[in-house]
């Protein structure tokens, strides 16, 4: 049995209490939400902490999906399973269900949270790509109050985010724009494995013309920031296979994968192209079929 080194355990009762504990306990304290990344690292003794602050009791406070007029707010403690099963998200952003179906396994999804996933900032992590695709922003709270950052600002690199010590990610905000839809695709060696490569796409249209498009990738470079060149290339264009191919080519050029056990750099680059095309195509098909987008809110 793998066992962690000794550590102290605190259980936060509120967001403010968690912030107090972080400040009081210092740099060797870490928040634990679902724990499915942190606990294995502790057991392998890759992460040696003095204090673990358990924020699972904050699920009441931070576990929610709230649909507003022009944005959706997701509490940071919302669990994968809740994202997967949320009818509101399914109606507005099918990318969530696409992604959640291929994130880990039911046991992990029952515990893991969106906030934990984003804060872990693993370069292969799927929800960061989803939130990037959807142009989400993140609400970070500290003693001094709240600040709101974009995903580009939030995700600084592998395992590094804008959340400073003494701060906690409390909410993810996703803008809702009409006539859009989204999709996610992932290639993995086995169900529950980390992505070899993932891609998310979101498209908005006015009639037959694309009015906005975003693509986010995972596992093909140090970060998963969206690719503005794709957004520019698709702007005001009518969707076509040629257009998707152009976007795919940009995705392949824009990423910087490395060869590892999951696949070669060439293959991952190929997947960035292939999956970008697939998710853009599926997003457009969904819009055309009226499957998703803003219907949930308006209907």
């Amino acid at each position: 049995m793998q066992v962690p080194a000794p550590f102290e355990y605190e259980r936060a009762t509120s967001v403010d209490n968690a912030i107090d504990l972080l400040e009081r306990l210092g740099d060797e304290a870490r928040l634990i939400a679902g724990g499915h990344s942190l606990l294995p690292m502790m057991k392998l003794r890759l992460a040696n902490l003095e204090y673990v602050i358990d924020i699972n009791d904050l699920h009441n406070e931070l576990g929610y999906v709230r649909v507003g007029t022009d944005e959706v707010r997701i509490g940071a403690m919302t669990r994968h399973r809740e994202l997967l099963e949320s009818p509101e998200l399914a109606a507005l952003f099918p990318i969530f269900a696409d992604a959640e179906q291929v994130i880990a396994d039911p046991i992990v999804r029952n515990r893991g949270t969106i906030g934990g996933s984003l804060c872990q900032a693993d370069p292969s992590e799927d929800l960061t790509a989803v939130c990037t695709t959807l142009d989400a922003s993140c609400v970070i709270r500290g003693r001094g109050g709240e600040r709101v950052v974009t995903m580009a600002e939030f995700h600084r690199g592998p395992y590094e985010t804008a959340v400073e010590h003494g701060e906690i990610l409390t909410e993810i905000r996703i803008p809702v724009r009409p006539h859009g839809s989204s999709a996610y695709a992932k290639v993995e060696r086995r169900a529950g494995d980390w992505a070899v490569t993932s891609a998310g796409a979101a498209v908005w249209m006015d009639g037959d013309v694309i009015t906005g498009a975003r693509v986010g990738l995972a596992a093909v470079g140090p970060n998963t920031t969206g690719i503005p060149a794709i957004s520019e290339a698709l702007q005001a264009q009518a969707p076509s296979e040629e257009l998707y191919a152009r976007a795919g080519a940009i995705a392949a050029e824009s990423c910087s994968p490395v060869t590892d056990n999951r696949g070669t750099a060439d293959y991952k680059r190929h997947l960035a192209d292939e999956l970008t095309r697939r998710t853009l195509r599926l997003s457009v098909e969904r819009i055309q079929a009226g499957v998703a987008g803003d219907q949930g809110r308006n209907g």
Binding site: M1, Q2, V3, A5, P6, P40, L44, R45, D105, V187, R189, R190, A191, G192, D193, W194, V196, N261, R262, G263, T264, Y267, K268, H270, L271, E274, L275, R278
Partner: protein, 802 residues
């Protein structure tokens, strides 16, 4: 209710409608007697054991693959308040215990003294009051290593400038482990020289790991006053382990009791003796308290017995009409840092000699060079029947390569070359005597179940549309049930199995066997074997295994040997008891023995069935008052030791259908048809379970499993996030069927089935993937066929994994 007719010779199985909850007095479907405790979480595994005063042992392992140990400072660990002992290789060397023999007559370091030879090698151990403190104290041990260049690539291990790993062996100047050959080189070369067609292909079977759910471990309890050592341990071979411990430690064998409690999967991983067991025994001897050692997952994956790791050059010679003439191969075998292969002594390559497969050839030859590398030792495991999975993989792949070159259907090619029923017993060109077989019947059933012709038509249509569909065919012959003592022993211990049956006065029974279940369902199968012979219901028969004080000697469970060897012993000991029962019955019924007729469960007077006594009546009489026939002792029990006359040769025909996503190169196993012939079928449900497990193993090895190393010799498969094991989502609905060709020399005709599906399945999957890639001009691609590696093949550059 079931409509299955288990007796029909060639039968597709309908598992969804099978009624397993039956109560046969003998062979047939019944639920497993052991499952109520397993499914309620009431199994008792080694790690469940808690003894008074028990201490915990943890092992410090080498972080590097090859290095000289400069110094070890244990001062800080010794000072930990909960630590009872810190032991290094130097401490063991002082007692002459730093090295131990392996199952292949090599030696292996218990704790490294001079240098470390693989990442994860045992360097020191800590014994502490609890497992947390033991782990914490490991971090307080300071080891200084002088890093040496590692030997990682098996192909260059014998290069003149390669660093020498086994400097412990006197006069050793290279990394050569052994050479081995089989077959007739000159005859084979001659056939190759005159053949119309010769196909050569380099085929790699990468290193994989058995990865049982329960890792290895033990509790050693030495009592100083009595001098008795009790070892609860994860062992597939408790008796063999006890004898080895006695020979190595000097403790007398009768003072050692080895108990294997419930075991959570073995697959060969629990055949070797690992340094951890020896460390726990030493610790208990030194401290005088029970000591528990349990590996964690990473330790199991990084340091214990791996499987495969063969780099094979396969060559096949044939006529242009597709008559296979000969197979020739050269193998480079990676044995890691110590040769720990568990195989009969005369078989250093296990049973790889059956690489001629199921085909009637004119000649065959194999030469093998085994080398040491800076990797974990072992080489037994993963349900391979002593390397038969490597052998069958080689032949089934190279036959498909031939089909590719001849542009011939792989079924047609195989059919032209299968050994025919009248040729059995068939002596192969490498000297193996196949006991029985009716190969085409199994192949035909598989083809019919698959709808082979329709599948080929569908494939042709799909290829027109640019879709990638593949159909893989494989035929395999296993050789299991080691083995005849004239040929086979492990460390001098003959591979015969004892069995003891005792009928209690009330007609209940206890069977003691030497083999050891790791989940195979022995408590059920063996009760059924006895029930069939003696007519006592399986529910009334207790099966005891795994305790050397409670069971007769035998070599344990691996290589699918339980049913072929211990199962035969159980059947024969039952017959011996029945013979005695017949004599007692003759006295009870006052007729001669010859006038009695056995009807399962009772003896009746011939011609007068109303006069009969049941086996229960006889048991009471055997133990009760009143006279027994002259010369008959009281009691109703017997013991035998069964020495098999030959191996048994199960076989099967497997067909796999895959679809490959042309955009992502991801492989989906759409269908898998498996027809197995394991001779007489004792409990069809258990057979089906074994087959399902083995087929799933095959998907894992074919598509995702591999213990890889980087250039520094770091193991890249040290967790189940890195070493992937298939889930229900990667496997199709298994379509199974069977034929029945009994073994002529086994008492009940049974052949064993535990590893058949592992031996047969990967090649069907690989053959299917390669078939799907035919439009790309691909003849061969190596496992594991991950999306990335399949994509490489689609780009015209299939790459060996090592």
């Amino acid at each position: 209710m079931t409509t299955l007719d288990e007796g029909v010779a060639a039968t597709p199985e309908d598992l969804e409608h099978a009624d397993n909850d039956q109560h046969p007095v003998g062979h047939g479907r019944m639920l497993r007697k052991e499952d109520p405790r397993f499914i309620r979480g009431m199994g008792k595994y080694v790690d469940d054991l808690q003894l008074k005063g028990m201490l915990h042992l943890a092992i410090l392992r080498s972080p590097v693959a090859h290095a000289t140990i400069v110094s070890i400072d244990t001062t800080a660990a010794q000072a930990h308040p909960k630590v009872k002992a810190v032991i290094t290789g130097a401490d063991l060397a002082a007692q002459g215990l730093a090295w131990m023999p392996t199952l292949s007559n090599d030696v292996q370091a218990v704790l490294a003294t001079d240098k470390v030879r693989f990442q994860g090698q045992e360097v020191a151990f800590v014994v502490a009051e609890d497992r947390y403190s033991a782990r914490d104290a490991l971090e307080l041990i300071d080891v200084e290593y002088d890093i040496l260049p590692p030997v990682v690539d098996v192909r260059t291990a014998l290069a003149p400038d390669a660093p020498v790993i086994r400097t412990d062996l006197e006069g050793k100047t290279d990394n050569h482990c052994f050479d081995w050959e089989t077959g007739d080189k000159a005859a084979t070369d001659a056939v190759f020289a005159r053949a119309d067609v010769v196909v050569t292909e380099d085929i790699v079977y990468p290193r994989v790991h058995p990865a049982p759910m329960e890792t290895c471990g033990c509790v050693a309890d030495y009592e100083r006053v009595s001098g008795q050592l009790t070892l609860w341990t994860t062992s597939q071979a408790p008796h063999a382990h006890r004898t080895v411990y006695a020979l190595v430690s000097g403790l007398p064998e009768h003072k050692i009791r080895v108990i294997a409690p419930d075991i959570g999967g073995g697959f060969g991983n629990k055949v070797p003796i690992y340094p951890g067991y020896v460390c726990a025994i030493v610790a208990s001897l030194v401290i005088g308290k029970p000591v528990k050692w349990m590996e964690d997952r990473s330790e199991n994956l990084v340091s214990t017995g791996f499987a495969r790791d063969y780099v094979m050059r396969g060559e096949i010679a044939a006529t242009k009409e597709g008559k296979i003439l000969a197979i020739r191969t050269h193998v480079i075998a990676d044995h890691g840092a110590f040769n720990g292969t568990a195989a009969p002594v005369k078989y250093p390559a296990g049973f790889f000699g059956v690489f001629t497969g199921s085909y009637d050839l004119e000649a065959a030859y194999c030469s093998m060079t085994a080398v040491y590398t800076n990797k974990a030792p072992g080489g037994v495991a993963y349900a391979c029947s002593f390397r038969i999975t490597e052998a069958v993989y080689l032949v089934e792949r190279i036959v498909d390569c031939l089909a590719y070159d001849l542009d011939m259907d792989p079924v047609e090619l195989r059919r032209k070359n299968l050994i025919q029923p009248e040729q059995f017993p068939y002596t192969s060109k490498t000297g193996w005597v196949y006991d029985s077989g009716e190969y085409e019947r199994a192949l035909d059933l598989a083809l019919e179940m698959a709808g082979y012709d329709e599948l080929r038509a569908e494939q042709a249509e799909k290829r027109e549309r640019g879709e990638l569909m593949g159909i893989g065919v494989a035929f395999f012959t296993e050789a299991v049930g080691a083995g005849p003592r004239k040929d086979m022993d492990i460390l001098g211990l003959g591979m015969a199995d004892g069995s003891e049956l005792r009928i209690h006065p009330t007609g209940k029974a206890v069977l003691r066997v030497s083999c050891m279940s790791q989940g195979q369902g022995h408590e059920t199968t063996f009760a059924q074997i006895v029930a069939e012979e003696i007519g006592i219901p399986p529910a009334d028969i207790q099966v005891i295994n795994g305790d050397t004080d409670q069971t007769p000697f035998g070599l344990g469970t691996y290589g699918s040997r339980s049913t072929p060897v211990s199962g035969a012993a159980a059947a024969l000991v039952s017959r011996k008891v029945r013979d005695k029962a017949q004599i007692i019955a003759s006295g009870m019924l006052e007729v001669s023995v010859a006038d009695l007729e056995w009807q399962k469960g009772s003896f009746a007077v011939k011609g007068d069935p109303s006069r009969s006594v049941t086996i229960q009546d006889i048991a009471m009489r055997a133990h009760g008052a009143g006279d027994l026939p002259d010369g008959v002792e009281g009691g109703l029990e017997a013991q035998i030791c069964y020495n098999p006359e030959n191996l048994t040769y199960p076989f099967g025909a497997y067909i796999c259908v895959v679809d490959i996503d042309p955009g992502t190169a991801a492989v989906k196993v759409r269908r898998f048809i498996a027809v197995d012939d394991c001779g007489t079928r004792i409990n069809p449900m258990i057979i089906e379970g074994q087959v399902h497990g083995g087929l799933t193993d095959g998907v894992g090895m074919a598509l995702m499993e591999m213990i890889a190393f980087d250039d520094e010799g770091n193991c890249l498969g040290g967790s189940l996030m890195d070493y992937l094991i298939p889930t229900a989502l990667e496997v199709p609905h298994w379509e199974t069927g069977h034929t029945v060709t009994p073994s002529p020399h086994h008492p009940i005709g049974a052949k064993g089935v535990g590893e058949s599906a592992t031996v047969g399945s990967q090649r069907a999957i690989v053959n299917a993937v390669v078939d799907a890639l035919k439009p790309f001009g691909i003849r061969h691609a190596d496992m594991p066929l991950t999306p990335s590696r399949v994509w490489d093949a689609m780009q015209g550059r299939p790459t060996p994994p090592i």
